[in-house]
Symmetry: C2
């Protein structure tokens, strides 16, 4: 299919007429028109989304992922967006790229979505992962299967549609397409240029994202602010915006006892026990309240600005409920809240192994003990530097650090030996909430949240605890970003029976309509 | 086959003639006669032992183990020993029991051997485990396969015979039978009553040993001293006697974080990390020099007597060589030696697990972390009491101790929870080296060692580090015991290519001849 202009919007964009003003139908605002469209065409929007959800989207399934990308490209074209697939080498999922240039726009929004999903093992799902199934409510709440709605049928916002990627991350596309269609049909012209940038291997690690951004730099260079349409709402159920993600690095540390496992009777009390050595090493890294004791670990943390500080203080207090749900009577660093703790770097024992436990345990002093350490980073922390600090701490405990298993000569030179295998890492990213583009996004999202969830419902979260390579945008492209999640917090993302609550799809339509019609910037 | 008396010895035993004196041929001593027999019949002794080694002897292989037991019983009968199989329930390997009563004897020796062996995986062996193969020397020393010797052929003491149980623990039977035959043919009458008690499930854990000792108590009650023919020579290669074994107990300790594994980004720095908690708990139990910090851990250790203390000081210093071999630059409790350390209870991290390490490591805070702790006990330590001390220490670190995984109510009551699953245990056993029976055994073994390995070669080891349920004899029967090993120290016991050095079989013949003709006790 060629990219023949077929809609007024594209025609307008092609003309690049200066200072053209949006001319909505009957004097209605963009959000009002989108809302009316949603109310009139709800069943069709749901059926359309169900069709999209039926496309398998595992990044490693080259054929399926390309079919999904092509479907999106064609649907964008159908809504008047100039759209194409950006490519790298064979086998790399393409970027679905699109532009909608608005004459006289003083701002360009980058809209990021990822259209690939986590792998899914069908045996753990109630229905096949790519056979979208509508429920009258959440399964846990007693919902039952119901048919997709017919035109004219009333839509219950508590309906849930179950399928892989229903929440993470096809939902933004399921909401963007009807907004574009409503605007096209209603004559609403967005107030910003729009660049659509939909990734196809986020769940597989975004290995080629940096290369795409480099290779196609000219296609994205005019973006003023990136909106990441990904992730779920706040755990309280309220809508949120987030302005940062933690970076990540890590290492695997192995300490050595005797060259071979020894009989724990014949040598126990004499041969060094690697599990004991490792316990002592790990205990030296962190105190019982969760404070990391490694020299300099907190030194490079960038302080929060006043907006971040205010947002942090305004966050809903959800810790006690979360602790109850997780069976926890204490947390690291208390009385600091989870949100506060996510603004600090963390050191986590992700895995431990030495010999065997349980039925396979044997009467041995094992030869080695290994810990996998995860390190999450915040703004200001350099991944290499942070790993250096941990390694320096290991050396300070008397260990000789090696990169390979030690040979006999090394063993007979150094009393304590630790192999440190560093993982890949990348830095945190945080956008200043004071940035003028970011402030505009906050205003638009607040309007949508007030409309959909009630006044002052929007939660502003300075940073998520998880890691995404958003530094490619903030540090690589020097552009602000805002993470704009819409899925329900209980969407089972990455898990079986992933789902989207229809109310959240409806909220996304409201939100995107607001974002696409933010007041024009006054150019000084 | 019935137990018809067929030899002068049995006839004599049946007569129970008082004060009968041994009347060796041509005025030679028992050891001299045994030595001459060995020199004259060496090839036959080796061929005979090879036949015995061809009998599979895995305790769980009911049919094979019974065939092996029957072979031994019949061979004992052939040497004039009244012999039978003692039985418990179906499927329990029988005890091969035998008696040789000597008129006028003032002492009864209990001779313990185990005729079962460790399981063997043939794929790891150079030759099939139960196809005995003679080598011109140890494989590692360049030895090659050679045929079994013909009568009259010269025997090289460096020959090695490879088969499962060659060292552990058929060797004593391979040496006892020719000694009995030499004595029978040479007219040597032992100076003690002999009770043969050969176990068939030592390698499977001796689960029925206590029951056998109870059920057949009348058959063993007159034994004055038990000789355990098991185990290898000292690591220096020198012959040894040992007078104790450590007891054993243990536990598996699991500590709990969140009720399910959590994303290490979204919750890292807030949710308790069980691997970290476990590291802190283990680190609190033992210092970096290997001293156990648990209150009372060393309080019940019985002090050594003067004989033990002297033996300890006379032990060969083998630690530096062992450290080199094991790639160790330090040991727990140094400068104490291995032998000294084995006289103290030990606490060993035998296994550690939490989440995954290596390729399977995931970005999670695992829900649990587990350590398998081994505790070795010395004379004076009660297994239950020692486990109580460890558990009290865990409680003192703020843990609520449970026996099952905690439910939500328990989780929401106690901040720190540890599941402690105790293993079975039994106490250490140690014989006083001052005991008069034990002193006689030492003298006889010293004579044999001087003869076979040179003057003052015998090593007296107060206690082995490993565990055997010898408390059944020392504490249960209130009888002294001596462990009298004969196998070469490098016999690969429990491992592939197990072997016996012929020189060690020859030493066993010398040793048993000495033990069976120890000077009669003077009855006051």
């Amino acid at each position: 299919m060629t990219s023949t202009p077929r809609s007024p919007l594209v025609a307008l964009a092609a003309c690049t007429v200066a200072l053209l003003v949006a001319a909505p139908l009957a004097g209605q605002s963009g959000p009002e028109i989108a809302r009316a469209w949603r109310d009139a065409h709800g069943p069709g929007i749901i059926r359309d989304y169900a069709e999209f959800l039926s496309y398998p989207n595992n990044a490693s399934d080259t054929e399926s992922i390309r079919r999904t990308a092509t479907w999106i490209r064609d649907r964008l074209r159908g809504e008047g967006v100039e759209s194409e697939l950006l490519e790298l080498d064979d086998g790399v999922p393409p970027i679905v790229y699109g532009r909608l240039d608005v004459p006289g726009a003083t701002r360009t929004l980058g809209l990021y979505v990822h259209y690939d999903g986590q792998p899914a093992d069908p045996t753990n799902w109630t229905h096949a992962p790519w056979e979208p199934t509508l429920y009258s409510a959440a399964m846990e709440a007693g919902g039952t299967v119901r048919p997709l709605p017919r035109d004219g049928e009333a839509v219950d916002p508590e309906w849930r549609i179950y399928a892989r990627s229903a929440g993470d991350d096809k939902a933004p596309i399921g909401a963007l397409l009807p907004v574009l269609e409503a605007f096209k049909e209603g004559g609403v012209i967005p107030t910003s240029n729009l660049v659509f940038f939909f990734e196809g291997e986020e769940e597989a690690g975004s290995d080629h994202l940096g290369e795409y951004l480099d290779r196609y730099r000219d296609r994205i260079d005019d973006i003023d602010v990136w909106l990441f349409f990904d992730g779920p709402a706040h755990q309280s159920g309220r809508p949120q915006l987030t302005f940062g993600v933690r970076g990540v690095t890590g290492m695997e540390v192995t300490v050595y006892g005797p060259v071979r496992p020894l009989h724990s009777g014949h040598y126990g009390n004499w041969a060094p026990v690697p599990g004991q050595m490792l316990a002592q090493l790990l205990a030296s890294m962190k105190d019982e309240q969760g404070k990391v004791l490694i020299d300099g670990f907190y030194d490079t943390v960038e302080p929060l600005g006043p907006e971040e500080q205010a947002a942090l203080e305004a966050l809903p207090d959800y810790d006690e409920e979360l602790k109850r749900e997780l069976g926890l009577m204490w947390t690291e660093g208390e009385p600091q809240t989870l949100a506060e703790r996510l603004l600090l770097p963390s050191l986590t024992v992700r895995g431990l192994s030495s010999g065997n436990t349980g039925k396979l345990a044997r009467n041995v002093i094992p030869a080695t003990a290994t810990a996998t350490l995860g390190i999450r980073l915040v703004k200001g922390n350099d991944p290499e530097h942070m790993a250096d600090l941990v390694e320096a701490h290991i050396r300070a405990q008397g260990y000789h650090v090696v990169r390979e298993d030690p040979d006999m000569a090394t063993r007979l030179t150094y009393p304590k030996i630790a192999k440190v295998a560093r993982g890949n890492g990348y830095p945190a990213a945080r956008t200043s909430m004071d940035d003028p583009f970011v402030q505009e996004v906050i205003s638009a999202a607040r309007a949508a949240a007030d409309q959909a969830f009630g006044d002052n419902s929007l939660v502003l979260t300075p940073a998520l605890g998880g890691s995404l390579p958003l530094y490619l945008f903030s540090d690589g492209l020097h552009k602000p970003f805002v993470n704009v999640p819409i899925a329900n917090h209980d969407d089972n993302q990455h898990a079986p029976d992933e789902n989207l609550r229809v109310a959240n799809l409806w909220y996304a339509i409201e939100l995107y309509a607001q974002l696409l019609t933010m007041p024009r910037k006054v150019v000084p």
